[in-house]
């Protein structure tokens, strides 16, 4: 699987921004990826997209149902961990896959992320489900700013 580029057409809202790439030679039983974005919001969106792409073909997931998310952390790694952990939690709780995200990240006192996320109840056939993500791990987790873009590396327990 190669790098996923941003989509342009309106109906392809599932890939509005950001991009990611799965990694082959890291923590072999798990699913590792690198993601990037021009802003932190784009980066966090790309990480969410990658997480759900591990579980299903996200292009088949329609943005039908909305959920609100708010997570906080003192640092960016913690914020990314909490964001993905919250999405994984909602995936089980609501039996829903997500495909569209509107994210706002602020730094009043530590970091705060607020997001509206859209998705659809899991339909194994329609969404061509793959493997479940059990959790996000802290192993090699990083969020970095290089030149004018943000990058992250994440390993998911699958």
């Amino acid at each position: 699987m190669g790098t996923y580029k941003s989509g342009h057409k309106k109906e392809r809202n599932f890939l509005k921004m950001g991009k990611y790439k799965f990694l082959e030679d890291v923590a072999i039983a798990d699913s590792a990826f690198e993601a990037e974005g021009e802003s932190l919001e784009e980066l966090f969106e790309a990480c969410a997209q990658a997480t759900f792409e591990v579980m299903a073909e996200t292009k088949t997931v329609e943005a039908k149902k909305k959920e609100e998310i708010e997570v906080k952390s003192e640092d960016l790694e913690g914020l990314l961990f909490n964001w993905l952990a919250e999405l994984i939690y909602l995936k089980d709780l609501k039996a829903t896959l997500f495909s569209k995200y509107e994210i706002k990240i602020e730094k009043p006192d530590g970091y705060k992320l607020q997001a509206s996320v859209w998705g659809e109840p899991i339909d194994a056939e329609k969404h061509k489900v793959k493997i479940d993500v059990k959790a996000v791990t802290y192993h090699l987790l990083e969020v970095k700013k290089t030149d004018n873009k943000w990058t992250a590396k994440v390993i998911l327990d699958t």
């Binding site: 990694l23 798990d30 194994a124 493997i131």
Partner: protein, 481 residues
């Protein structure tokens, strides 16, 4: 890297290898397995050796591979007085484990009905992303399961009285405290009882290889009674409930480490003193998840018995569908082990490693006490699995532990690149296997080529004497999430 072969199959990395190592690390592997051991194992097992309170050695079993925090195959014992407990030494899938069920049926009887049998079981045991179980629970009944585990299932008609004695910890570990599991964990896992999950989890119909009964006497005690006998193996864990508990406590422990001034080399090794309030809270919550996993495999067993009864038009009892045993291979346990000549209470972490207790051990059920604890080693769906027996040598060398499977050698991405799910299913079908998979790409990721040679792994633990070969099993049918 400094590493010394201290005996056939045992490699030691001295404390001088890495700053902060408190004990040497030991890797158990044949020459062949050592050559393919991935670099993550060396890095991670020496990180584990740095954790406060670790006893004797940080160990990695022959099926070891790169994980997060601990390597998969990692075993470490910590002092209960001044040692640590680490969720990363147990895994997110708390009490992921394997259960083996015997039958009186033979290959000849089952073969003609395999398609029907697999379709029936595929319906009865939900698998894959987003699946829900048939047992409807509320948070109160779920809390009961956290404490009672398999006993709750038996009381509610999902098991036989005899089942409990054929499960590690009798299917319920002591020390559960449901108030230490978050509301989030409860709501996430409540609907998932009786589901298989996905990834490397499976339900398999297997046949015992008549010419591969290595120890007929032990085999007989375990319930291996005839040529071409049919067995059922279930590999799964505590589902979303356990995953959420591990996620919650990883965060709590990162804060606790600051409080207790503990330094670690990988955030996934976040830990807290076992005796601290955080350490005790996590242990109580982990036990809740462990008991829910025993209950999960129990409810699945109930459905399997129902499925067989439906297909073979016979009561499950009349088909001799007894559980042989159920092992937890992602767990921490309070056990007594001999440390430098002294019997000491330790908290043993096994992450992708199986307990392997010897004959006459009080923790081994009475029915098996003379021959030792059954050890179930689940292999890849293409190569088969093993039934082993626990030994005294394991007590002496590995804190009573052995391997848990064959161990991955290839990432999921690489496996998918090398083989397509549909091709793999065809190959297995051509070999006479029946495969039912929710996901074709998920199936490809579990291809035999992604794993080490299980014969090599099992021969290594057998030669080391940390468990004893009893029976080899070959898959006939596989259900994957």
């Amino acid at each position: 890297m400094q590493m010394e072969k201290i005996q056939e199959g045992v490699w030691e990395i001295p404390k001088t290898e890495k700053e902060g190592m408190r004990v040497p690390a030991r890797i158990f592997a044949s020459e062949k397995l050592m050559q393919i051991m991935d670099k993550g194992v060396f890095e991670q097992i020496t990180n584990v050796a740095c954790l406060p309170g670790i006893q004797k050695h940080a160990l990695c079993m022959p099926d070891g591979h790169w994980g997060y925090g601990f390597p998969i195959g990692g075993v470490a014992a910590f002092s209960t007085e001044d040692g640590m407990i680490s969720p990363g030494g147990i895994g997110f899938d708390i009490n992921c484990g394997v259960r083996l069920i015997r039958t009186d049926l033979t290959l000849e009887e089952v073969k003609p009905k395999m398609e029907l049998l697999m379709n029936t079981l595929f319906k009865l045991v939900p698998a894959g992303v987003g699946s829900k179980g048939f047992v409807k629970l509320n948070s109160n009944t779920f809390r009961e399961i956290m404490i009672k585990g398999v006993d709750w299932c038996i009381e509610n008609g999902y098991g036989w009285q005899e089942d409990r004695e054929r499960i590690e910890e009798s299917g319920h570990m002591q020390g559960a405290n449901p108030s230490k599991a978050s509301q989030k964990a409860i709501s996430r896992g409540m609907d998932q009882l009786g589901t298989l999950g996905s990834g490397n989890h499976y339900l398999e119909i297997q046949v015992g290889l008549t010419d591969q009964i290595y120890d007929p006497e032990i085999a007989k005690v375990y319930g291996v009674s005839k040529p071409n006998q049919i067995f059922i193996m279930v590999h799964c864990g505590s589902r979303g409930f356990g995953h959420q508990i591990a996620t919650d406590y990883l965060q709590i422990f990162l804060d606790a480490m600051r409080k207790y001034g503990i330094k670690i080399l990988d955030k996934e090794l976040a830990c807290a003193p076992f005796n601290s309030s955080e350490g005790q809270d996590y242990f109580s919550a982990m036990v809740c998840a462990a008991n829910s996993a025993f209950a999960n495999r129990q409810v699945i067993t109930h459905r399997i018995r129902e499925g067989f009864a439906e297909v073979f038009k016979k009561d499950a009892k009349d088909m001799g569908m007894h559980i042989i045993y159920d092992v937890a291979h992602n767990i921490a346990k309070i056990e007594k082990h001999n440390i430098d000549g002294e019997e000491k209470k330790v908290i043993v972490h096994r992450k992708g490693a199986t307990r392997s207790f010897p004959p006459n051990d009080p923790a081994v059920p009475e029915i098996y006490r003379k021959v030792g604890q059954p050890v179930i080693v689940g292999g890849s769906m293409e190569t088969g699995s093993y039934l082993l027996a626990g030994t005294q040598k394991a007590r002496e060398m590995t804190f009573g532990s052995t391997c848990h499977g064959s161990g991955r050698v290839m990432s999921r991405m690489e496996a998918k690149r090398k083989v397509r799910g549909t091709e793999l299913r065809q190959r297995m079908t051509d070999r006479g296997m029946v495969v039912r998979a929710v996901s074709m790409s998920g199936l490809a990721e579990e291809a035999g080529l992604a794993y080490k040679n299980i014969d090599e792994v099992v021969n290594t633990v057998d030669a080391l004497g940390i468990s004893k070969k009893v029976l080899q099993l070959r898959p006939l049918g596989s259900i994957k999430g």
